[in-house]
Amino acid sequence: MAFTQRHLLGLEGVPAEEIGAILDTAASFKEISERDIKKVPTLRGKTVINLFYEPSTRTRTSFEIAAKRLSADAVNITASTSSTTKGETLADTARNLEAMRPDAIVVRHPAAGACHFLAQHVSCPIVNAGDGCHEHPTQALLDLLTVRERCGRIAGLTVAIVGDLLHSRVGRSNLHALRALGARVRLVGPPTLLPREFEALGAELHTRLADGVRGADVVMMLRIQRERQSGHFFPSLDEYSQYYCLTEEVVRLAQPNVIILHPGPLNRGLEIASEVADGPYSVIMSQVTNGVAVRMAILYLLIARSKAEDAAEIEEAAEPPRRRGGGRA
């Protein structure tokens, strides 16, 4: 198994073999969640801190369940960046958490790069659970696991990602990982939310929903943020949905066995019609199930790796000096 990451800050630049290793590990963990007693002792005595600076029910719960099914102790901290203006800086928070000796910190933060920042300030693994408009790697990994299960492969598939690509961390993580694994990626959205620079990252750009979805094996819908109206990105949610809502009519343009993904929570009738969200091609509930497995895999791989590193360091420190000298001679 090839897994060399110290942290999971993003999927950009992570090689295909490592992504494959995460997915394989996740697939093997899925069975635990099917058991009567859904718990293994793998991470017993380990502490995982969930540090969330943005409201999240689904992702935080998913990480918490993942930690608990591996017997780790999970601690949830809900912080708000507005309260930090009168209180503690992120650097100070990091130092305080570090002093409590966690084995991993899962972070969601509204600022892009916040996880990189924390990774520079603490020694334990950092797992990015969404940083601003940058990346949301575990969401993409669970999407990939779902696609791989349903389609049997990822290489060679045509995947359309539809919505607010400019601001989407889910879109970015999926683009990087899908390209690494050999899928053909189409990004679909209004020109205001679809910077041309995405082409340099290997994507095909479409501004018409029908063109983007036609012949696709997989359609990933992104959640539209209501506040984007104020940035002049589109005139109204109503007009947005007229052009970019995934309806049954549009789905019929895709491959007959197409699957539809959505990271949730759904804006029914806005970016996705209810008939599609609840239709036979929708795999949204599988995504949620796979989310737990992927997060178990990430926690396991990162903590096991950092434990192995610590052990190596201890062993090295314990070696008598003459043996090291002998090594050099």
Partner: protein, 437 residues
């Protein structure tokens, strides 16, 4: 103070004549008296041995933030002056965005008093264009000029009201003051924290498009043309701005421009990893812009290299990227970076010297920047071979926010004279570095 001084045995770089060659410089009563062949300038003076050193007119930085009054935790006039001297600058022009803003003769006078108390480098205040930098009402240019300002600028807060800018350019003609402009359309730049392009897209950071600068440059060139005012474009950062300025100059618009060392060396790739010392306004741009700026500095479209020295406390940089303060310090790294441009063949030594001396002197109407008889006896003596590594802890500025930490530099100011007096000499520990290399 010795009345007569002979700087002997050095290699004199004359930015006006465009020459480099062995010569002595004689300073009488604090002013340049003569430049001539070795031994020809008389024996009656005290001698300063300049063998092995380049002798330049004192360097002038047309754009710094000294932070006093109001932000003394970032920098004071005294620490800023020490940083200037360590970098080889004998004069600096400091921007008005202090607290209170330098929008009155009283604040201008305060800055000059503090500078006099600090001693060393000459400090030339720049006054605000608008009261409180609010962009609503013209500040009293006349009163500030009587107190000693050399230009007006709302640097840091672009003037969005085109009507106000038009009147500022027009009214400044009465005092022959240049209007120094920070060009960034605030609506286009809204929320942006770096250059808008592939790197900002990858990092998920809000971008500032090149057009945010260029629409303002185009606007102000049109206004300078309309009014006949003198426009100086601060920290030009894009190829498009360079083209606009070049074309306007060709049709006779009174426009000058400056570029910073960081925009001449770093690209937006420096932000990857979310390094807050790569965050400034205008932002670092892609390689094609850097190349255009270098060409413009070489051909004279940009006649000033200025640092935009912007000290910030560690606490303002050790935060999430989007929350970090804009700006980097630059006084102590500008000269060696300039010498690197020479080493890379971008421009020759006299041209570099001109961008750091007579260029800014002309823009700001200062008497320095040349070796002409009667000019201030300000000289910067440079050891062109001195190799050193940028260690933020060793910098004289009160702040440490340099993007060049760890860079290997060649060349350094080792003796600085202001008014014929040695005001800075490199200390021993740094001289020792020479043998270490």
């Amino acid at each position: 103070m010795s009345a007569r001084l002979l700087v002997a045995g050095g290699t004199v770089v004359d930015p006006v004549a465009g020459t480099v060659g062995p010569a002595d410089v004689r300073i009488d009563d604090g002013r340049i008296a003569a430049v001539g062949p070795s031994g020809a300038l008389g024996e009656d003076a005290r001698v300063l041995d300049a063998r092995g050193l380049l002798v330049l007119p004192g360097l002038i930085d047309a754009h710094v933030h000294l932070r006093e009054p109001g932000y003394e935790y970032k920098e004071t006039i005294a620490t800023g002056v020490r940083a200037a001297l360590a970098g080889g600058f004998t004069a600096v022009a400091c921007m008005a965005n202090t607290n209170p803003v330098n929008d009155s003769g009283a604040v201008t006078q305060f800055i000059l008093d503090r500078a006099a108390a600090a001693g060393g480098a000459r400090v030339h205040p720049i006054g605000a264009v608008s009261v409180g930098l609010a962009g609503e009402q013209l500040a009293e240019f006349g009163e500030m000029q009587r107190a000693g300002i050399v230009a007006v600028s709302d640097d840091g807060v672009p003037v969005m009201d085109a009507g106000l800018m038009r009147r500022a350019l027009e009214y400044a003609r009465l005092f022959d003051l240049p209007v120094v402009v920070h060009e960034e359309d605030r609506h286009l730049a809204a929320g942006g924290v770096m250059h808008e392009g592939l790197v900002s897209l990858r990092l998920g950071l809000r971008g500032v498009p090149a057009a945010a600068e260029e629409v303002m440059v185009a606007r102000d060139l049109a206004l300078a043309e309309l009014t006949g005012g003198r426009l100086h474009v601060a920290h030009v950062s894009t190829a498009g701005s360079v083209a606009l300025i070049r074309a306007a100059r060709a049709r006779g618009v009174r426009v000058t421009a400056e570029a910073t060392p960081h925009h001449l060396f770093l690209t937006d790739e420096a932000v990857a990893g979310y390094d807050t010392n790569a965050k400034m306004a205008p932002p670092l741009r892609p390689r094609s812009d850097v190349d255009a700026l270098r060409a413009a500095v070489a051909d004279g479209t940009i006649e000033v290299i200025a640092t935009d020295h912007a000290p910030h406390h560690r606490d303002e940089k050790d935060v999430e990227f989007e929350a970090a303060a804009n700006g980097v310090i630059g006084l102590e790294t500008a000269l060696p970076l300039g010498l690197r441009l020479v080493a890379e063949g971008v421009l020759d030594l006299p041209t570099l010297a001109a961008r750091l001396t007579v260029g800014p002197a002309r823009v700001l109407g200062l008497p320095g920047g040349t070796l002409a008889p009667g000019a201030p006896g300000d000289l910067t003596l440079v050891d062109p071979e001195r190799r050193w590594r940028v260690d933020p802890r060793e910098l004289r500025s009160r702040s440490r926010n340099t993007p060049f930490a760890g860079w290997e530099m060649t060349g350094r100011a080792v003796v600085v004279l202001v008014g014929g007096r040695v005001v800075h000499e490199e200390e021993r520990p740094l001289a020792a570095l020479r043998s270490a290399s």
